[in-house]
C-alpha cells in the first residue's frame, strides 16, 4: 500500500507540474478527487481491504497523500490568480491584429451635418425640414422674390413637370415653419438644394444647405451676430472671428454675407482665402417685413433673423477637400478616410 501511495504521489506531482491553466487544474482535480472515479476516492475505498493491523499506518499515508493533493491543487489554483503567473506570450502573437467589428463610415457630409445639428441643438434650436420639390410660391414669391425679379438669375432653377421646381435653397422652410408655428421660433433645417449648374470642381447640381430662423419679440441684428459667432466658433475653431458685410437677399433687410477669419493662414494671406484673410460662409439678415406679412406675422411686433450656409463648403474647408465631385462619387477610398 505504501508503495502504491508513493507511486501515486509521484504521478500527481508530475501531472501538477504539467498543468498550466485553470482548466487543466480542474481536470486534475476531477481525476484525483472526483467523487465517483477519482484516484484517491478509489484508494480510500481500497483501504477497506487492507488488513486491520496495517490499516492505521496505511490510513495515515493515504490521508497524507489526500492532504498533499488537495493542498497542492489549492496552492496551484491560487498561484494562477497571482499577477505574473500566466505563461509568457510570444511577441509575435502579441503583435497580431485583434478581432473587431468593422462599422461602415458615415458620409463626410452627414458628419458635418451632425456636428452642425448638435451645435444648434445645444443652443436650443429645433430641427426642421421641408420638401425638396417646391412650388414657385415657397421658393421665390413668399420670399419676396416675385416673378421676373433679377435675383432669380442667381439661382438657376430646375423645373419639374406640373409647374413645380426643385428648391434652389432651404429658405422655403422658413415660410413653411412660420405658417405652421407662431413665434417664438428658433429652428434650423438642413437639406438638399438644386441649382442648374454644370458639374465641376466647385459646382454641383445638388448640394446641401443649412437654414436658420429665429423669430420673437425684440430680436435684433446683434442677436444674429452673436448666434453666428457662437456657431462658427463651435464648428470651425474657438478663435475664429466673424465679419458681416452688407449684401442683398430679397427676403432679408438689412441683409449681409458673413465671413470667418481664414483658418488656414490666420489672416496672413493664402490661396484659400485669396489673400483676403476672410472666408465667405453664407448669407444672413433680418427677416424682411414683407415676408412676415405674407405669413400673417405682425412685423411691428415681431422681428427675426435668418441665415444660410452650405454643408459642402464647411466640409471642404474643415477637411481640406478641393473638389466637390468627390462627395458624390462615393469612392470607398475617399469615404473610408473619415470613419465616424
Amino acid at each position: 500500500m505504501q508503495e502504491r501511495v508513493r507511486d501515486l504521489r509521484r504521478d500527481f506531482d508530475a501531472a501538477l507540474a504539467a498543468a498550466r491553466d485553470a482548466s487543466s487544474l480542474a481536470a486534475l482535480r476531477t481525476r484525483w478527487l472526483g467523487r465517483k472515479d477519482g484516484l484517491l476516492t478509489a484508494l480510500l475505498r481500497d483501504l477497506r481491504d487492507v488488513a486491520p493491523a496495517e490499516r492505521a499506518v496505511a490510513g495515515r499515508v493515504v490521508n497524507e497523500l489526500k492532504q498533499h493533493v488537495e493542498g497542492s491543487l489549492e496552492a496551484a489554483a491560487g498561484a494562477l490568480l497571482r499577477p505574473g503567473a500566466a505563461p509568457s506570450l510570444p511577441a509575435l502573437e502579441a503583435s497580431l491584429p485583434g478581432r473587431r467589428r468593422q462599422p461602415g463610415a458615415p458620409h463626410p457630409l452627414a458628419q458635418v451635418r451632425a456636428r452642425i445639428e448638435e451645435t444648434f441643438l445645444e443652443m436650443g434650436f429645433a430641427l426642421g425640414e421641408g420638401p425638396e420639390i417646391e412650388t414657385d410660391h415657397y421658393n421665390f414669391t413668399a420670399l419676396n422674390i416675385p416673378p421676373h425679379h433679377p435675383a432669380r438669375d442667381a439661382q438657376d432653377t430646375f423645373y419639374v413637370e406640373g409647374g413645380l421646381l426643385l428648391r434652389t435653397h432651404t429658405s422655403p422652410v422658413q415660410i413653411r415653419t412660420m405658417e405652421r408655428q407662431k413665434p417664438p421660433i428658433k429652428m434650423v433645417a438642413i437639406g438638399k438644394v438644386f441649382r442648374r449648374d454644370p458639374f465641376d470642381a466647385t459646382h454641383a447640381p445638388m448640394f446641401h444647405q443649412v437654414e436658420g430662423l429665429v423669430v420673437d419679440e425684440g430680436i435684433a441684428f446683434s442677436h444674429l451676430k452673436g448666434t453666428l459667432e457662437r456657431f462658427c466658433r463651435k464648428v470651425l475653431r474657438e478663435d475664429v472671428r466673424l465679419r458681416l458685410r452688407p449684401s442683398y437677399f430679397p427676403f432679408v433687410e438689412p441683409g449681409a454675407e458673413y465671413d470667418v477669419s481664414c483658418v488656414f493662414c490666420d489672416q496672413g494671406g493664402c490661396g484659400r482665402c485669396k489673400g483676403s484673410g476672410w472666408i465667405e460662409l453664407g448669407g444672413t439678415g433680418m427677416v424682411h417685413p414683407a415676408v412676415f406679412e405674407g405669413v400673417g406675422i405682425d412685423p411691428e411686433r415681431y422681428t427675426g433673423f435668418a441665415f444660410g450656409l452650405g454643408i459642402e463648403r464647411i466640409a471642404m474647408l474643415t477637411l481640406g477637400i478641393d473638389d466637390i465631385r468627390l462627395f458624390f462619387e462615393n469612392d470607398h477610398r475617399f469615404l473610408g478616410q473619415f470613419p465616424g
Binding site: P97, R101, Q102, P103, G104, H107, L109, L121, F125, A126, L127, E132, I133, H148, P150, A151, D153, F158, Y159, V160, E161, L164, Q181, P184, I185, K186, K192, F194, R196, P198, A204, P205, M206, V214, D216, G218, A220, F221, S222, H223, K225, G226, T227, L242, R245, P246, S247, Y248, P250, E253, P254, G255, T303, F327, F328, E329, N330, H332, L335, G340
Partner: protein, 686 residues
C-alpha cells in the same frame, strides 16, 4: 463690374489708398472682388466690384463716387451737362409716339446734326478700354461714356435711316424680324418692346440697337435716345432672346426716370464736342405722368431696436443726407426722408435702417445671444428615426453614400417598372432628366466606380428621398437601400473572406428592420417575384409591399458595366417614419436556465425557414424562446431539391424542465415538421 480709380476722382476726392478704398466699399455693400493695376501706372487702379441687383444706381462711376463721398464725408462733384446755347428745334427734325405708355413711361431725344463720325480721342478710348470695352467711334463711345459715368443707357440712331424721322415705341409684331447690332437676325414676338419707324422695327427697346440705323462712317445726323423702359418687359424680352447687355442689365434692375434728361444733355454735348455738329433744342420729352417722390419715415428708436445698437439720431440723419435723401421732417418720433429717384430699392422703413446700418458699419453692432424660449425644441421623431436607420447600416459595416436625386428615367424603371418618373423640364443632361424613383441605380453606379478602380469589397448604403407621382402631385418618400459586391471586408486574419452573397444583403435588411422600433415591416421569404430586378425575399408591412432583398439581375448589371454579382436591398421607410412611437416594456428575466436542443432536418426547397419555425412553435407543448439556424448543408447524403438545416431550439419555461418533458416536446415538434415535409437527419444534445 469694373470701376476706374482715376475716373471716380472726377467726382470725389479720394486718398491714394486703393486697398483701404476697397475695404470701405466692401463694408458698405459694394464688395471688392479684385484690384487691378497700381496708382501712378498707366491706366491706374481698377476696382472690380460686385454690385447687387437692388443697386442699379451703383452700376456707374457717379453712383460709386456717391457712396465714397458718403463714407468719407466729402462733397460729390456732379458733371455739368455743358450744353451750349440753343440750336435748331428738335421738333422740326423728329416726332415721337409711344404706343405702349405703360412699358415706356418716358422717352426723350435730341438730334445732333452735321456730325463727323470718326475715332474717339485717346482719353476716351483709354477710359472705355480700361473697363474692358471696345472703342467703336466717337458718337457711340460718347453714349457709352455717359452710361459708365451716370448709369443711363442711351442709344444713338442714324437719323437719316429713321423713316419719316418718326420714332414709334410699340410691342413687336409676331414674327417680325430685326437684325441687331451683333449681326444676329432676331425673330420677335409681342413680348418684346421695339423702337420702330413707321416702316419697321429699328431696335430692341432697352436691349440692343439694330444694324439698319447703326451709327457708321458717313452718318451725319444722329438721333439720341434716352428713355425709361419697364424692367419686367426688358427682362422677359432679353431672356426670351437669350440676350444680356449693359443696357438690359440696368433697365431690368430699374433705371432712374429723372436721370433721362441730364444724361441726354451730357451725351449730346459730348458728341458735339467730339464729332462736331449742332445739338437740337429743346429735347423732345414724352412721358406719361410723373412719379411722385417717395417719402419714407424712419423711427430712430425702431432702428436702434432692430439693430441692437444705437448710432444716434444725428448720425442717422447725417448718413441719409450724405446719400442724398432729403430729410423733410424731423420730429421727436421720426425722420421723414424723401427718397432720391435713383434709389429704386428704398420702399419702407427697414430699407432706411439698412442704409443707416451699412454706413454706421456692421462692425459697430455688438454680438449677443438671443434669449428665446422655444416650445418646439429638439430633433423631431422623423429625423431621429432616419438617423437610427443610418446607424443600423453603419454598424452592419456599410459605408454611407450620397447620390443625386436626378436620374435617368430608364434606369429607374428597371427597379420600379410601375412608377412613372417625374420629368425635369429643363435638364442639364439626359442622364439626369427625371427624379429618381429608386435609390438602386445610383448605388449601382457607385459599385461600378469602385470595382473599376480595383477595389475588392463594396458595401454601400444610402438613406434618402425618392419621388413618385401621386393623385395630388409628387410624393416624396424616404427609403434606404444597400449594395454589396466583391469580397467581404477583411474582418480578421483568423477567419477567411467570402464572396458577397444573398446573406450579406439580407443581413443588412435584417439589421435595419430590427432597428426600426415600432415598424411592422418584415421579410416575407415566400414572396419571391420571378423575374424581379432583385431575386430574393420581399419586405412587407401589413400585407403591403415595402421593398425587396436579392441578387441584382445580371442583365441589369451589364447595363451598369458590372461583371460581378451584386446583392442589394431597398426598403420604404415612409410608413415607419410616420408611425407613432411604440412603447417598450420590461420582461422579467427567467428564473431557471433555458434548455437547448439541436436538430438537423432535411428540408424541401419549397419550404421557408419561417414556415418551418412557425410549424414548430405551433406544435411545441413547451414555450419556445428561440429557434436559430446554425448550419445549412447541401450535397452528399442530402437528396436534390432539399437541404439539411441544423437548428437550435431554446425552451424556456417557468420551472426547471425535465428531460422527459423536453423529449416529448421534440417528438411533437418533429411530428409536425414531418407533416410539413421535413424529416429528421439526426439529433444532438448539448
Amino acid at each position: 463690374m469694373r470701376f476706374s480709380h482715376d475716373w471716380l476722382r472726377d467726382y470725389v476726392d479720394l486718398p491714394d489708398d486703393p486697398d483701404g478704398i476697397g475695404r470701405r466699399l466692401t463694408s458698405v455693400g459694394l464688395p471688392l472682388e479684385a484690384i487691378e493695376g497700381a496708382p501712378g501706372t498707366p491706366g491706374g487702379v481698377v476696382y472690380d466690384l460686385d454690385v447687387f441687383s437692388n443697386r442699379p444706381d451703383c452700376m456707374n462711376h457717379l453712383g460709386v463716387a456717391r457712396e465714397l463721398a458718403a463714407i468719407h464725408g466729402v462733397p460729390l462733384r456732379r458733371p455739368a451737362p455743358g450744353l451750349k446755347a440753343a440750336g435748331p428745334k428738335t421738333a422740326d427734325h423728329l416726332a415721337i409716339e409711344i404706343a405702349a405708355p405703360e412699358l415706356c413711361r418716358r422717352y426723350a431725344a435730341r438730334c445732333v446734326l452735321g456730325v463727323k463720325v470718326g475715332p474717339s480721342p485717346a482719353w476716351l478710348r483709354e477710359r472705355l478700354e480700361r473697363l474692358g470695352h471696345r472703342s467703336i467711334n466717337n458718337v457711340v463711345d460718347a453714349t457709352n461714356f455717359v452710361l459708365w459715368e451716370q448709369g443711363q443707357p442711351l442709344h444713338p440712331f442714324d437719323l437719316d435711316r429713321v423713316a419719316e424721322h418718326r420714332i414709334i415705341v410699340r410691342p413687336a409684331r409676331q414674327g417680325e424680324a430685326l437684325v441687331t447690332l451683333d449681326g444676329v437676325v432676331r425673330r420677335l414676338s409681342p413680348e418684346v418692346l421695339v423702337i420702330a419707324d413707321p416702316r419697321s422695327a429699328l431696335a430692341l427697346a432697352g436691349i440692343m440697337g439694330g444694324q439698319s440705323s447703326e451709327i457708321r462712317e458717313g452718318t451725319t445726323n444722329v438721333l439720341l435716345e434716352s428713355a425709361w423702359f419697364d424692367p419686367v418687359t426688358v427682362r422677359r424680352g432679353a431672356k426670351g432672346l437669350g440676350m444680356h447687355t449693359d443696357a438690359s442689365h440696368r433697365f431690368e434692375r430699374g433705371a432712374d426716370p429723372e436721370a433721362i434728361l441730364p444724361a441726354l444733355d451730357r451725351a449730346a454735348a459730348l458728341i458735339a464736342e467730339l464729332a462736331g455738329g449742332k445739338v437740337t433744342d429743346p429735347p423732345l420729352d414724352v412721358r406719361s405722368g410723373s412719379e411722385a417722390a417717395r417719402r419714407v419715415s424712419l423711427r430712430p428708436a425702431r432702428a436702434a431696436a432692430l439693430l441692437g445698437h444705437d448710432p444716434g439720431r444725428a448720425r442717422m440723419r447725417e448718413i441719409l443726407e450724405r446719400l442724398e435723401f432729403r430729410v423733410e421732417a424731423d420730429t421727436s418720433e421720426s425722420l421723414v426722408a424723401v427718397v432720391p429717384s435713383f434709389r429704386r430699392d428704398i420702399e419702407r422703413e427697414v430699407d432706411l435702417i439698412e442704409e443707416v446700418a451699412r454706413h454706421a458699419g456692421y462692425d459697430a453692432i455688438p454680438s449677443r445671444l438671443p434669449a428665446v424660449e422655444n416650445a418646439e425644441g429638439g430633433r423631431p421623431r422623423r429625423l431621429q428615426r432616419l438617423d437610427a436607420a443610418r446607424r443600423a447600416l453603419l454598424q452592419d459595416g456599410f459605408t454611407e453614400a450620397v447620390n443625386f436625386d436626378l436620374a435617368e428615367a430608364e434606369e429607374s424603371r428597371l427597379f420600379e417598372p410601375e412608377v412613372r418618373p417625374l420629368a425635369i423640364e429643363n435638364p442639364l443632361q439626359s442622364q439626369a432628366a427625371s427624379l429618381r424613383t429608386t435609390l438602386l441605380p445610383g448605388l449601382l453606379r457607385n459599385v461600378a466606380h469602385n470595382l473599376n478602380r480595383g477595389l475588392q469589397a463594396v458595401r454601400l448604403f444610402e438613406v434618402g428621398s425618392v419621388f413618385h407621382p401621386g393623385p395630388k402631385g409628387p410624393v416624396e418618400l424616404s427609403r434606404a437601400a444597400a449594395v454589396v459586391a466583391g469580397l467581404s471586408p477583411a474582418s480578421h486574419w483568423s477567419t477567411g473572406r467570402h464572396e458577397a452573397d444573398l446573406f450579406d444583403a439580407r443581413g443588412a435588411a435584417e439589421a435595419l428592420l430590427s432597428a426600426m422600433e415600432g415598424s411592422r415591416a418584415r421579410l416575407a421569404s415566400d414572396r419571391i417575384a420571378p423575374g424581379a430586378a432583385l431575386a430574393g425575399p420581399a419586405i412587407e408591412a401589413d400585407g403591403r409591399a415595402g421593398g425587396r432583398v436579392g441578387e441584382v439581375d445580371p442583365a441589369i448589371l451589364r447595363r451598369f458595366e458590372i461583371d460581378r454579382p451584386v446583392f442589394a436591398f431597398e426598403m420604404d421607410l415612409q410608413a415607419w417614419l410616420d408611425a407613432p412611437t411604440a412603447s417598450r416594456t420590461f420582461r422579467p428575466l427567467p428564473r431557471v436556465p433555458s434548455v437547448r436542443r439541436d436538430l438537423a432536418l432535411v428540408v424541401p426547397d419549397r419550404m421557408t425557414i419561417d414556415q418551418l419555425e412557425a410549424a414548430m412553435r405551433r406544435a411545441s407543448p413547451l414555450p419556445v424562446a428561440a429557434i436559430e439556424v446554425f448550419d445549412r448543408y447541401r450535397g452528399k447524403g442530402v437528396p436534390p431539391g432539399h437541404a439539411s438545416v441544423a437548428l437550435q431550439l431554446v425552451f424556456q419555461a417557468e420551472r426547471t424542465l425535465e428531460a422527459e418533458a423536453v423529449q416529448k416536446a421534440i417528438d411533437a415538434i418533429m411530428a409536425e415538421a414531418e407533416r410539413q415535409g421535413a424529416r429528421l437527419r439526426g439529433t444532438a444534445q448539448e
